[in-house]
Each structure stands twice: as structure tokens, then as C-alpha cells.
Symmetry: C2
Subunit: 482 residues, 2 copies
Amino acid sequence: MEAVLWQCWRKLLPSQPGVLTQATRRLSSSADPALKVSTTRSTGASPLLVSRLFQPSSLREGQGQESQSGEKTCKSQRLMLQAGLIHPSNPGCYYYLPATVRAIEKLVRLIDQEMQGIGGQKLDMPSLCAAELWRRSKRWDLMGRDLFRLKDRHDAEYCLGPTHEEAITELLASQGHLSHKQLPLLLYQVTRKFRDEPRPRFGLLRGREFYMKDMYTFDTSERAAHLTYQNVCQAYTRLFARLGLQCVQVQADTGNIGGKLSHEFQLPAEVGEDRLLVCGNCAFSANVETMEPGQTDCPQCHKGTLTESKGIEVGHTFYLGTKYSHIFNATFSNPQSKPVVAEMGCFGLGVTRILAAAIEVLSTENAIHWPGLLAPYQVCILPPKRGSKEEHLEGLAEELCHSLGSTIPGLRGEVVLDDRTQLTIGRRLKDAGCLGYPYVIVVGRSAAEDLPRFEVRCQQSGETMFLSREGLMDLLSRVETI
Amino acid sequence: MEAVLWQCWRKLLPSQPGVLTQATRRLSSSADPALKVSTTRSTGASPLLVSRLFQPSSLREGQGQESQSGEKTCKSQRLMLQAGLIHPSNPGCYYYLPATVRAIEKLVRLIDQEMQGIGGQKLDMPSLCAAELWRRSKRWDLMGRDLFRLKDRHDAEYCLGPTHEEAITELLASQGHLSHKQLPLLLYQVTRKFRDEPRPRFGLLRGREFYMKDMYTFDTSERAAHLTYQNVCQAYTRLFARLGLQCVQVQADTGNIGGKLSHEFQLPAEVGEDRLLVCGNCAFSANVETMEPGQTDCPQCHKGTLTESKGIEVGHTFYLGTKYSHIFNATFSNPQSKPVVAEMGCFGLGVTRILAAAIEVLSTENAIHWPGLLAPYQVCILPPKRGSKEEHLEGLAEELCHSLGSTIPGLRGEVVLDDRTQLTIGRRLKDAGCLGYPYVIVVGRSAAEDLPRFEVRCQQSGETMFLSREGLMDLLSRVETI
């Protein structure tokens, strides 16, 4: 068998012995139909077919109603399981299925825009963190069983990084030539983090593996560090605004990260595990952890009453001072060429948590609503049912799918065709509603009229519109994508 | 202190109590200069300054000549350390510094294009892999000490996934509704992988943490699986061609992955750890592991002589048959609605290894040469030295930097300004040469002439050209970026 395949394979190779890659070559002249697939590039030329997407094409009825092993569930977890967005693996660990990966990648691009917009530079640190580093900061013991710990083949001890204050400070300390002119320095990464949660629950809201954006900042003085702190908080505010999420910034406990000052960005939600106190009179708001037990008067304006609500922590900011830079001797040269210990901040965003939290607060019980920017696909086109009077419009639907993807730059790769034409339009509309495409276009009866009209359902507004082709193009060319 | 900062911070908040994010707001009216940073978005409006980039601005003389702990080194490792592209952490683990992250992201976009071009769908699987899964495939014992193993707080055993055949097959087996119409199914991820190498060495060429693209394919029959195998191999061939890398595809051993057929994509290099035999007469080439000891005659054409060379393995493909799908019962429904075990393939690309291998084979001893598509920045502009006769051209250099980034879409974010004008042009040219910008533009004496000319150094061709502004725009608008 190997020999046969080998011969078969060899026929496809270029002629020069052993060397495959002389130039960018296409094998598009081949008559073998299977090879045609390989020459179709992602240029929007071939439509994305719902029947081939893994795996929302058959919504899993009944799944997600209750979880395995009696773990607590919530709306976002249930909806994401039903829609084939995630699949459970180990406790607190999920497979992120393709539509989720698209949403995560969009969120990461948004984060990149906002972090680089304030001068952030992206790096990537190892997940394996040496025990020795964490012992120097005393967190090896402090973190207790929340740390995943392991030994390598030489019996060296490591943890899987849940956060990287030690690692980044060690990196900075190793850079001999850092000048005050290079500060502020804002370094961040978007990587998988690990935390051995005692009770992982609520799907992506509290997992043991998750994606986090963590930024670490280095400044020449406390005043400069405070300005950097404000800049990052403002970038967070803009980011949540662009997602259409009404976050509250509250004063917070510094926990085992340490430092002098901290805020959380909380998304109000019943399933949230944090309790917030918000003043009815002024801008004061706080995590109850930071307040005296039973306090109901606002400590800031002394007039308003504090009302309690629940929130999901989607971001956390810390002004660290010199806690870590002192331990690891992370210094810069001041204008007099003297080494000075840098002032630090650290700033986290829960990437996968933001995704689930957004679905939690925006969705109905039966239909996912995405922040517009993060929807895995912006547009779903429904051709008529096979065997219906409008069957002849199937080609029009395909052509529309191609045309939207190729003429509106922002929609490239964003348009799918629900080719499951054995199903009624009604059934496919229901599926499309559950999956939360911002725009669903029905190519049906009204598209066969003398003045063809496309039926467009806009999830955000709840409106159904009947638009000409020009009207449709105009509407969709204004969709913001990232 | 906290209280003071709190007051200071509060002034910046919108007026509605507790709610920050009413709309996308900019605080650009603020008079505080530090806040200006926060309102500069990454629109190409503000130039990227070499003095602020972390950390190539001071090439580290002497570093990287020998490694810590006597580990073996090679050219790519030395060059990447010197240029501030990577920094060592634990043995076999590196910090990827910002320029490297840019190159990795470009490579991932290229991989996405090629994998999605043949119908690949991207997902993301947990790093923590349950021991139970690996015991079912017998690899828990087979992998020996190469696996990083750990226990969670409940004493459950896991490994850190070096590859994910078990996980993906388990996922497929859990999808009750998979139809033959959905196959072939090509699922891939680009994630960090872990392998407890006995002797990590050569920088990113053989590490213990690395990024890998791993694709897993599912087909209805052996014949269909072979066509999928060819499609993926052709996508790999195109990918390496687009990188300008002369890879050789050789027959390979299936090792502990298993299966019936396997090829490696090898990049010939002296530092390579694989030994290849290539026929001088026909297209045959093989890893020596697959051959009889001492064989020098070509087993395919029986005419040519086999010549040995060394290679770096940058990709590996396996036709697995039903090895894993049988164990985990990963089936699909055939047209008669009967369950049939799927035929599988798996296909790896070493993402961080490709990057280092490319630098290894393309670079000189003193200057990094990137595959054009992967260069972290395409263009570096050098303004004249401070205090020189041409000092007045500094504004022109800045304007050019802005103009290139904003008028040529592909160059957005790709142009840096070497603002270290305390240094001579010569010194900065030397640095730029080491870092490997494909295009370096000197705004010097000839730009001050009546017919201004920009001095353009093209690394790929080694040419120096003197171009008018129009000529420069024309040249750079043809640069391919990703």
C-alpha cells in the first residue's frame, strides 16, 4: 500500500529531484477533482457552506441543559454548548470550536488595537515558570493549590503560569541597557493561562485553562506610573465601549498580586460571582471585599446610599509600585546614569471570559447575541428550499454570497451560505437566530418579484427589512468588522 | 496616596455613576500630555520609533556568543539573541520579544491562508490532556520522559499535550451527528506545545515549549484520505515556496505517532539533526531512518546514487489509517446510515522552528535575513544625524514614514523610523543590516538636492538605489505583506 501511494504521490511532485519549492506554483491544471480543492484559496471565491462548518449545522437539542458531573451551569455555557461553540474536555477545560476561535481572534485584534494604541508592545512568555522565580516573590507558597505544579525529567520544579509578574520583571532586570528614555514601557501578551480552580464552573467564565491578556508596565516614577495606569484604564473603557458592554469600574482588593491600588472592570450580571456596591449619588463603586462589613453610606460623597449588585470580573488593574521590581532588581538608568528601581503596573483582561460574559448578558434564553464586532460570521444567506417554487433562486443566493464577500472588503470571509436546502426556510431561520448572525438574508419569494427584494433580518434591532440589492449593499457596507 | 490617586482618577470618569462605557469616547481634549499617548490609535498616524522598540535598539554585543549552561548554539540562536528577538528563560524555553511575535503572527496568517484554502477549520484544544485518554492509545507509557506530567488538586493525572491525536479523536467520537457529507473534515490548531526534550538546544530549533500547527483530517475511505493527504502536502509545498524556502519532502518514519505512511518536510542545513538520502537521478529522497544501513542505491529508479545531507525537520505528515479512530470509536454515518470508522491523517508544522530555521539558512553570520513575508517590519527610515548639514531633513523623514504607512495599505504598521539621531547614519545602517529590514531608506545628502533622491537599500538583492519619491512609492507598493 505504501508503495502504491508513494508512486501516486511522486507523480505530483515537480521534476527537480528532491526540491519541491522552486517558486510559488499552482497545480491547477490537474484534472483530478480532489486537487481542485487544494487550489481554492481563501479569496472569498468559494462560499462558506453551513453544511460543512464544524459543528453548528446540527444544533444539539437537549445538550447543555445539564452539565456532566453536576457542575453548575449558566446561560452562556448552555447556549455555547448547544450551538457547537465549545465542547467540554477535562473539568474547567474546553475545546474551542471553529466559530469560537474566530470570535476569539477578533477580540484579540481589538485588544491589540487598543493596547498598541497606547504604545503597548506584544511579547510572549513561557508557560513553564521556574519555582525559583516564584519563591523569590513568596508566591510559590502563597498561591497554594491554585497553582498547577510539575517537575521536569531533571526534577526541576515549575508551575504553569497563571500570571507573569515574576517572569516579566526578571526579563526587564536582565536588560542591562534600559534607559529612562525608553520608559514608559508597556509590554503585554495574550496567552493561555492555567489555574487549578477548586470548583471550575459556568463554562468559560471560570475555567482552569483560559486565554488572558496581561500587560505589565514600567515607569520612572510613581507619578508617571499613575498616568500609565490611567491610560490603560481608559483603553479598557474604550474596548468595552466598542463591544457595547456596560462595564463598571470598581475599587478592588489587590489580592495575591499585591501592590498599592487596584480596580476591577465588572460586567453586571446575575450569574456574576463578585458583589459590588454602587453609590446612587456619585461615581463611587467598589467590590464589597474592599468595604467595611455592613457599610451602606458612600465613603466618597457621604450623601448617597450604596446599592449592591453582582458582576462578572472581566478586567483587573493593579498599581504595583516596586513590589516586584525591588525583588528582581529591575532598574533603569536615570538621566544621571544611576540605576533606579522601576515603578510597575499590571493589567489583565480575561479574553475567553469576556466572550462568555458578553454572551451571558446580551443573549436571550434561546438566541445568542454577540457583540457585533465579535460575531464569528456577520452574514448568513438562506437560499430557498429545495423543491419549492423559488428553487431557481439558489444560484442568485450563491452569487450574492460571493458578491458580498468580494465587493465589501470588511465582509471577506464573513458571509456563510446555509446550503441545507432540504430544510425549510423557517427551520433555518430558527437555527440562524440561535447562532446569532447579526444579519440574515432570505432569498425567497420577494426576490422572485419584478422588483427583486431581499428579506433582511437584523438581529440587533430586531427589524425585518425588504431591500433592493443596492439597499442591501449599502446596509452591509456600513457593518464594522475587525 | 491611594485616596489622592483615586480623586485624580475620578476626574477622568464620565459623569454617570459607575457606568464608564456609554459609547466610544475619546479623551483627546485633555491638556495633560501624558494622556495624548492614550488617544493615539494605531492608524499609522504616529511613527514607530526604533528608540522605543523593545529591545533591538541596542544590539547586544558579545551576547549569544556562548550560551548559559554549555548548551549547544547555532547561527540563528546567536543572531536572534543578539538582535533582541528572543531571551532565554528556563532550558528550552524562550521569551519571544515583540519583533518575534510580529514574525510569528505573520507566519500564522500565512498558515491560516493555506490551511483554510484547502478547507481547514481552526479550533483550539486544551493543553491539559487527561492521562486516561493517553492510556487508551498506549502512549502514556510509550512517550516516556518526553511527556510533561502533572496532577491536579484532586490527584487526577494529566500531561501537557505535545500533540493531540487522542484529544481530537475523542472530540470527533463525541459528535453524534457526523455525516459522510461533512467529510473530509480538516481541523487544525496553532497552539503552544510541550515536550520535555532531554537536551534542548539551538534556540527555537529544539525547545521544550514551542508553537506548532497540527491538523487532523477525517475521511470516508482510504482513497479519500490519500487525496486529503496530497492536498495538505501541496499546501505545505506552497507555504514553503511563499517563504522562499527550498524544502525537501522525504519519506519518513512514523515514530510514536504511528500510522501507515509518513513524510517529513526538511530544510537542508548543516545544523540540521536529521540525515537525508537524496537520489541524484530521480525524485526519491528519504530520512536515513527509513533505509537499510549502508544503502547507497536508489530503491526507486535503481540507477541513481543516494547522497547524504542534513536537514531541519520543519513539517511532518502522517497517514494514520484507523489507528486512533478505532480506539476512540470516531465514526461517521455512511449513505446507508451505518456507522463507519473514519480514516485519519495528521499534519504538523513547527511554527517557531520554521522561523528559526529560515533565519538559520537565509542569514549571513552577521545579518539576519528574513523570508520577506515574515520580516517584523518591512521598512526602516533613517533620518540624518543630529547636528549634520542635512539635519533639516528630519521632518521629511518623519513625513515619509507617515506617508508610506498611510498611503500604501500593505505597509500600515510596517514602517519604523530610526530616531536615534545621536548616532551616525553608518552606525544605524549597520544595525538595520543586522536586524534584517528588507528595505532601508536613508534620508540624507541626496534628499537635499534639487531633484531629491532617497537612498534605498534592498536587502534581498543587495542593491542600493537612488529613487525619486514616486519611484520609491512605486517600489514599495509592490512589497507583498501579510
